[in-house]
Amino acid sequence: MASSPSVSRRGFMVGAAGLTFGVAACLPHSVGVAQAAVPSKQAVLSPWVTLSTDGTVSIVSPAAEMGQGSFTSLPLIIAEDLDADWAKVRVVVAPPDDKLYANPNFGYMYTASSNAVLAYYTPLRRFGAQVRRVLLDNAARHWNVPVAELTTAPNVVIHEKSGRRLDYGAIAAFAVVPEKAPEVKEEELKPSSQFRLIGKDVMRIDMPHKVNGTAQYSIDVQTPGMLYGAILRAPVEGAAPDQVNDAKAHAIAGIVKIVRLPYGVGVIAKTSWAAFAGKKALEVTWTRDGKAWGFDSDKGSEDYAAAARNPQVPVQTWVTQGDVPQALQNAATVLEADYGCGFMYHGQMEPLNAVASVSPKGDKVEIWVGVQSKTIAVTVAADALGIAPDKVVLHDMLMGGGFGRRGHRDEEFVHDAVVLSNAVKKPVKMMWTREDDVRNGRFYPLSAHYLRGGLDASGKLVALHHRKACDQVTAFQDPVRYQQIKGRDTIAFANLDMKWYAIPNRLAEGVPQDNGVRSSTLRGVANLSNAFATESFIDELARKGGIDPAAFRRSLVADSPRSLALIDAVTRMSQWDRKRTDTALGIGFENYSNTLIAEVAEVSVDRRTGAIRVHDIWVAIDPGIAVQPDSVLAQTEGSVVWGLGFALSEHISIKDGVVQQVNFSDYHVPRMNEIPEIHIELIATEVHPSGVGQMAMPLVAPVIGNAVAALTGVRLRQAPMTRDRVLAALKA
């Protein structure tokens, strides 16, 4: 793990004096501290907190906002231990600076893996407490009383004995900030019984701007003299333009310049509509460089399934515990099964885009973009021009969805904008159309899963073997991290073994594949395909042993009261024991990075069309302390909707290396008329918060599949469980 800002005492003060805060360009009313506080005097108390004499508390938010609410919840954590009055807090966008604001789990500014709150929670609480201590010390000196006699209420220091009160803003006028941040021990943090903010919903800062059109995404930016750019990218990674005929494109009114790039052809025009038309009019043939040419995803699924079953294939061992071969030999019953998952597309609502403005000499650039990692964006822009990172000015914008797509190490859409702007030395808004976004997609990887399980005579699960063949992901999306993790591709292979279940013998193996198709992390990450395979398989094992699937899972988590509570909650919510006639229920359980989830789906199946209808989904979720409970619910609802798409309809196919889908017309994301009733019970146990951004997603497919099996006796082994596949399985 990278050095955490919490342990760096320098982190408290370094740069504080000359600190320039970013302006929240994305939110017109949440301006940067400089504007907000003028004309009152300010005391910069730390790189995180600046106090103005009018009582305004400006707090830096280090996370990127893509709808998950971290832009609000992280500063709220500081405000809690600082005892700031939330009504007086201004949230300030953190500038790109890994030394001060890095995500402690990654070592750089990166908002992903649903871990913003998880990773920053304790450091931010401590920063808040340190600033509060500085205020207390100042007040103690001012009144000449022992600091131990002082307490705080929101935005005010109180000396009970004398009845005196000192507003935080008043302290800003004379505050002396120590060289070294005061020590605050974990046990000195505010006890949760005294929380005023954590656990109580506040209005998300970005939300009012999202109902009146004022929220600013990079696609909305307009600068004086700005041109518009589009890029026809090679259909296959690694291919290059061969023959380019741009005569027809040049004939279109408004075209300014057409530039040949190593990986495509760029069109710059006076309007976006002209740029898109120019791109469409290009006639380009491509070299056959690039590994994915010739790849077919249907064939790939079969090949991966064969690899997963082939004992001769070299494997990476991810988990080994006990002696699986032996335990399987001794087992009363052995079951084996295959599962598979397809490519999935992010489909974030805002197609990828960025605005760049390269200086006339090409030695400086300003960029406007929403990204999951600002520091990567700065590096990408600097590298595209061969200039130093400090020559890059980043304007951080809201993201119209991230889901893993806006945080790759190359953030290629930033690169696209910079090279186009550099070609004309003018500001250019580079936009991908939806068709570009699909065709240039970086997909959730194809996988095949081979599972074996052994039950003893009493029906107890004694051995589990899971072998997964899957595209490499980290090698493509983040070669830097791939080096650091020494080829252990956690994005593809983490959590294969259901460690939350008490299974004495377990073996989890990965069989990395490389077909040359662009791959990516995506909401749900490895757990998504893993849970489809393992939670379906657990169901098969329960049925094989003649045990109720809920009871079977209960027996596997018997030592975890939190887990049992969730399974009990979800069976109660769904009336698990009530008999249904035309519908059936399926259950699943998971521990996703310490967030516990149990889900039940109720489904029916149209045997004529093969359509699965999901009527209800019940979710019980325990993410530890819920910093913003309503955000937990919102993220859980969204995760269920995503899970539904993965389970039933979302499918990218590849032929000769080329993506076959075009737009939302043939890539089917869930719409309102496909959404079940979603019922959520939040059980927030008082332990360190874990993540919530994707945790409910992976169980959706297996609980649907388990319900279909309960209803029809037929097991669906391939996600998405499309009508064709359901019909084929019913006939078989």
Partner: protein, 151 residues
């Protein structure tokens, strides 16, 4: 030849080629970026506006088609973000990334104009033109029900 129409009550003349989709004219020439580009093919509803009061995919309407007509965008739905749908949207905390929400709100406002008290089934059918990738659908339903109740 300039094309004249009204946007949010204001008369405008635009010089874009007549086949340019209204969406791009609104966003670029008229600097009203609240109306969003999601798919460009009438599949997602991010670009939804009202033309003479009827909801319209602005990515599918050539600007020539709105000549002498009246267009309302999210920026013109209300003066102070206080249309009942906008108020309900905040009360139910609908938006996540927010990118689809202009279109959702414009659709919802059109629905309530025609059906002040829609059934749940009517809401679901009408709103299925609009994709929300973040999955805010359950809240959209609740917000429309609230707006119908409170307006």
């Amino acid at each position: 030849m300039a094309i004249s129409f009204k946007v949010n009550g204001r008369a405008v003349d635009v010089n874009a080629p007549p086949d340019t989709p209204l969406l791009w004219v609104l966003r670029e020439e008229l600097k009203l970026p609240g109306t969003k580009f999601g798919c460009g093919v009438g599949q997602c509803g991010a670009c939804m506006v009202h033309v003479d009061g009827d909801r319209t995919f602005s990515c599918q309407a050539p600007v020539a088609a709105v000549a002498h007509r009246s267009v309302t965008t999210i920026e013109g739905l209300s003066a102070h973000s206080d249309h009942p749908v906008q108020k309900a949207w905040l009360a139910e905390r609908v938006p996540q990334c927010g990118y689809c929400q202009s279109g959702q709100i414009m659709s919802a406002a059109a629905l309530l104009k025609d059906h002040p008290h829609p059934t749940r089934a009517q809401i679901v059918e009408y709103m299925s033109t609009n994709i929300c990738r973040c999955g805010t659908y359950p809240r959209i339903v609740r917000a429309i029900e609230r707006a119908a109740r409170e307006s």
